[in-house]
């Protein structure tokens, strides 16, 4: 166990970033998102959550794949995939860490997604325990412990100090290089963890019942009349999918340049009318069908194909960010079981 006074934490950021690139929650223009640590950035570890999740670091919103350059009758094809140098990702909450497991199931199974894997292999993750989980948090329902968020190193703020606990070889290796840290005592951390666990138990969504969401109930759930009511106010925007740590759908697009084409991939949203143009067009004609798809995927299809693992981690971003206050909690309460 190592520790540092929060008042000295800039020194730690500087030391880590002298070893590897460091990404952490940074506040810019009033919004906090993961960004590279550089001199002068406004690091924000007080906010419980970033707007966009940490998936951005492995699966960015938009990334180049191939460049085609045309000159005369020649087409030159260039690999445009970015090289991944080792980097440290700091300040990841337990829910986001859990989302990496979900994304790994999608991107690391055969055929492996090389663009995702290169970044995933390059990372050392330092998680941060949640001292004050919010009313919109329900990670415990999906097996996350916000007091023990896991990762390579687990950090906990206790009063004016931050403590670090290595959990993997990668984590121990990084910690051993950090001279700004001093030795810390485990007792303070243990009592802080207990306090967090007590707070979690008092959260309003801590006992959501998921028992109905089973593969064998698939058709029954699909046909439930409540979807109409649940989706009625949906604007068909992509906010929920883009702030969601587990949404993983993307589109591949060509951008025409003066002398060729840039092929890139970017996040896509099943909420959009232009999503999944099979053969001719989107088979889901109504917003209700698109809405149902999103939640059936997270709560029924994904677990049915992945050993029971849901593709929701209970981060509550959709609860906070949906323009019209629709969210997965309302779906679970209506269809999940005894809610």
């Amino acid at each position: 166990m190592k520790k540092i006074a929060i008042s000295n934490i800039e020194k730690l950021y500087n030391e880590i970033s002298s070893l590897q690139e460091l990404y952490l929650p940074v506040k810019k223009a009033g919004a906090t998102n993961f960004a590279k640590y550089e001199n002068g950035v406004d690091v924000d570890i007080k906010s419980l959550q970033t707007v966009k999740s940490a998936k951005d670091l492995f699966f960015p919103q938009s990334e180049d794949m191939i460049d085609f350059k045309v000159s005369g009758k020649n087409i030159e094809i260039k690999d445009a995939r970015a090289q991944s140098n080792p980097f440290v990702l700091f300040g990841v909450r337990g829910c986001d860490l859990k989302s990496f497991e979900v994304l790994d199931k999608v991107f690391l199974q055969e055929p492996v997604d090389t663009m995702y894997k290169s970044k995933r292999d390059a990372v050392t993750v330092i998680t941060l325990a949640c001292n004050n989980p919010e009313s919109s948090c329900f990670c415990k329902v999906f097996g996350v412990d916000p007091a023990n968020p896991k990762g390579d190193i687990q950090a906990t703020i206790v009063g004016e100090e931050m403590f670090f606990e290595p959990l993997t070889d990668k984590g121990s290796e990084l910690l051993s290089k950090l001279t700004t840290l001093e030795d810390g005592d485990e007792k303070a951390v243990e009592s802080e963890k207990k306090e967090i666990s007590q707070k979690v138990e008092k959260l309003p969504f801590v006992n959501l019942d998921l028992s109905n969401f089973k593969g064998e109930n698939l058709m029954e759930l699909f046909d439930r009349p409540e979807w109409e009511e649940l989706s009625k106010a949906c604007l068909g925007c992509g906010t929920c999918t883009f702030v969601c740590p587990t949404c993983q759908c993307f589109d591949i697009r060509d951008f025409e340049t003066n002398d060729g084409v840039k092929r890139f991939r970017c996040w896509d949203s099943c909420m959009y009318s232009e999503f999944t143009k099979m053969a001719a067009e989107n088979p889901r004609k109504t917003q209700m069908q698109r809405y149902r798809q999103r939640f059936m995927h997270k709560l029924v299809y994904f677990p049915a194909n992945n050993g029971g693992e849901y593709s929701c981690v209970g981060c509550g971003r959709c609860v906070k960010k949906c323009p019209q206050s629709l969210n997965i909690v309302k779906v679970i309460k209506k269809l999940g079981g005894k809610n």
Binding site: A29, K52, S62, E134, P204, A233, L235, F264, E274, K321
Partner: protein
Amino acid sequence: MQKLETLMLEKAKNLLSSGEVSRVLGWKKGELGYDVEPSVFTSAQSLDNFVYNVFCGANLSKYLVQETKKEGKILVFLKPCDSYSFNQLIKEHRINKDKVYTVGVECQGKIDNYKLKENGIEVVESFDEEVDFVTVNGKKFTKGEIVLGKCSVCEKKLLDYDEVISINEKRSPDKDRFEMVKKLESMTADERYAFWKDQLSNCIRCNACRNVCPACTCTKCVFDNDNSGIASKANSDSFEEKMFHIIRAFHVAGRCTDCGECSRVCPQHIPLHLLNRKFIGDINRLYGTYQAGEDTTSKGPLTDYTKQDVDPSDVFGG
């Protein structure tokens, strides 16, 4: 506020049971108090979840574009700001007014959920107008400190409706609506560029601003149309994200009622309304004070021509 809600509920039940309307467009209770959602109620029983309180910030008028295509008449409750959007949609022939029963409702400003979170407010002691908001640490906030930006500058009135439900006089705005626009205008071009670059580089192109905007009612947006050649699901570079918002602001100029929904829904809290408000300020300067949505018939300054119209270059130079 509870009394207002009771009166609205009574109205809704009466109109439903008399058969005057078949549906009611209003707001529905959430799970946490602040997560109120727009909803269509079809029976007296479903109205059990009806709510009208300080969290009903969502503008209901755009839902009527689809709702008035359906059979039967619908009752809608419109706050002052919603009603200007409603009028503008009537003017643009997007809503069939014959299928709507409009009831204007008093509004003293709605709460900004972001400001709740930012200040760590977890406890709401009551949903009355004179409500106390308390942080987990016991710090108290008055409502004025955490209302939506659009509410702190609201000069909108309850307009001409089938009926109006109002108990108290509306409060006067706390701030000058053009304060921030003036501040941006007084910056150098480089400073202004830096301001918008910082703000708009947070954009995640979720399209919430566009989809919620009552002035954005194209059946198919050019940015969603693969055949347009400019369809874009992502910002290909930092220039493009600026273009999306600037093009959208131009498209709604002269029609934007300043309802503030774009900024309310932005997940990154970008003050998008400032782009629209800049246009509104310029239109006021060039053609005289104009408020889109104040009526349902007049021509807007950008779709009308008079011989007295000034040449913008005479005012702005260039």
